[in-house]
Symmetry: C2
Subunit: 239 residues, 2 copies
């Protein structure tokens, strides 16, 4: 256990954790006491991070949900839920916490310290959530959103499901860009029906490959996605 | 079943649901298509509310959590979680949806319509969450927060736990105001310890009743709360 204790400073300087905050956050914290509380496990004395973790967990869920909602505009609700569950589960959160050095900043009671609590996944993940709560209270939603999206970018890219869930237009675009080909042209061919029950027919053309596909749907976006999916299939079959 | 169908208009005018939106929301919606989708159950054709419900559920959880965090500054995380779970569970959400007339605005497939789906709690609660998602996308967090706090105010007041969780300063203030008595004076008597391990001693005085109590804690706020709790106890014992 000696080595575990060695890896974690037992006493804090009076300005803890200001140097770490300055290194870690793109913004300048206003209320440092909030960040101190976020880094204080309930086993230590003083204001601990349990309430901030409650708040930060909700903020994180919202921001992750919102991000997935934006990035996967055609993914059904079930896929979004599954993706989010993988993204904000304990293990990836603990990994992020470790990467930004939360473990060394944690304030723990002596029992937790002796048994290496600053390396335990649940303690690290909780502290990260509490930090998200602290940033939200201290700097508001915009700053928190930017910080959290930065933290989640690499875990999201590593989720095997994420690529398959990209919408066909995005995948088609990436496919063409990877081959240095011009982007497709989408054109509405037909709109039918009344104002709130319209039906769209769309044409997708790749001039460089002399390929044309069609798509239909209850919105222009949906029709375009269908046409893009057809085009992707055609390209894969050709290659 | 006939009467169920009678209670729900089978066809929509072209500007559905604009009149209802104007009656229901304090803000003027920009993107009406979002609200239409929020009111469209998956049993109906067209863009339905499942993705918006995913987003709105996360926004609601965050806003409810944030509100409880603010209103009950001394409640431990477990109490906040319990309160939120009661507040945003299906039954109270369905009741709110019913009160603002979501049922009559719902777009359902004919099967759901025949069996009175527009009165089913799960369908109503989901549609309310989807509407919260729509407002968030359409008008941003501030507008959504204001609307959601208005919707939750009465369900929150009805939770039996909520009153007990109010912090002592708030309860003392309400106790005195209800009796038309002057508010207490709090004064810091002593601060001890280093910068991030300070200890506060605070005095609470009620001049009108010639009563004084004391409190201590790791922050001024905590010390004041303790002094207020002592004062409340004294008042209750006197009366």
């Amino acid at each position: 256990m000696g080595s575990d204790r060695d890896a974690h400073p037992l006493s804090r300087s009076a300005d803890w954790p200001q140097a770490w905050l300055a290194r870690t956050f793109p913004h300048a914290p206003n209320d440092v006491a909030l960040y101190r509380a976020a880094l204080t496990h309930r086993s230590a004395s003083g204001r601990n991070n349990e309430r901030l973790e409650f708040l930060g967990d909700a903020v994180l869920n919202m921001l992750a949900g919102e991000w997935l909602f934006e990035r996967f505009p055609l993914a059904p609700e079930g896929d979004l839920s599954r993706l989010r569950a993988s993204l904000v589960s304990e293990s990836p959160l603990a990994q992020i916490a470790q990467q930004i050095g939360v473990g060394e900043q944690l304030q723990l009671g002596s029992g937790e310290l002796k048994t290496g609590g600053f390396r335990r996944e649940s303690i690290l993940a909780d502290a990260l959530e509490a930090l998200i709560g602290a940033v939200y209270l201290d700097k508001g939603l915009e700053v928190t959103r930017e910080w959290v999206r930065g933290l989640l970018a690499s875990p999201l890219a590593q989720l095997p499901e994420a690529d398959a869930l990209k919408d066909p237009k995005t995948r088609l675009q990436e496919y063409l860009q990877a081959r240095a080909l011009a982007l497709p042209l989408y054109e509405v061919e037909r709109i039918e029906g009344e104002a709130h029950a319209q039906h769209f027919a769309v044409r997708c053309e790749l001039k460089s490959l002399q390929a044309v596909t069609f798509g239909e749907g209850s919105s222009r976006r949906r029709a375009e996605q269908q046409a893009a999916a057809q085009m992707l299939q055609q390209l894969v079959e050709r290659s």
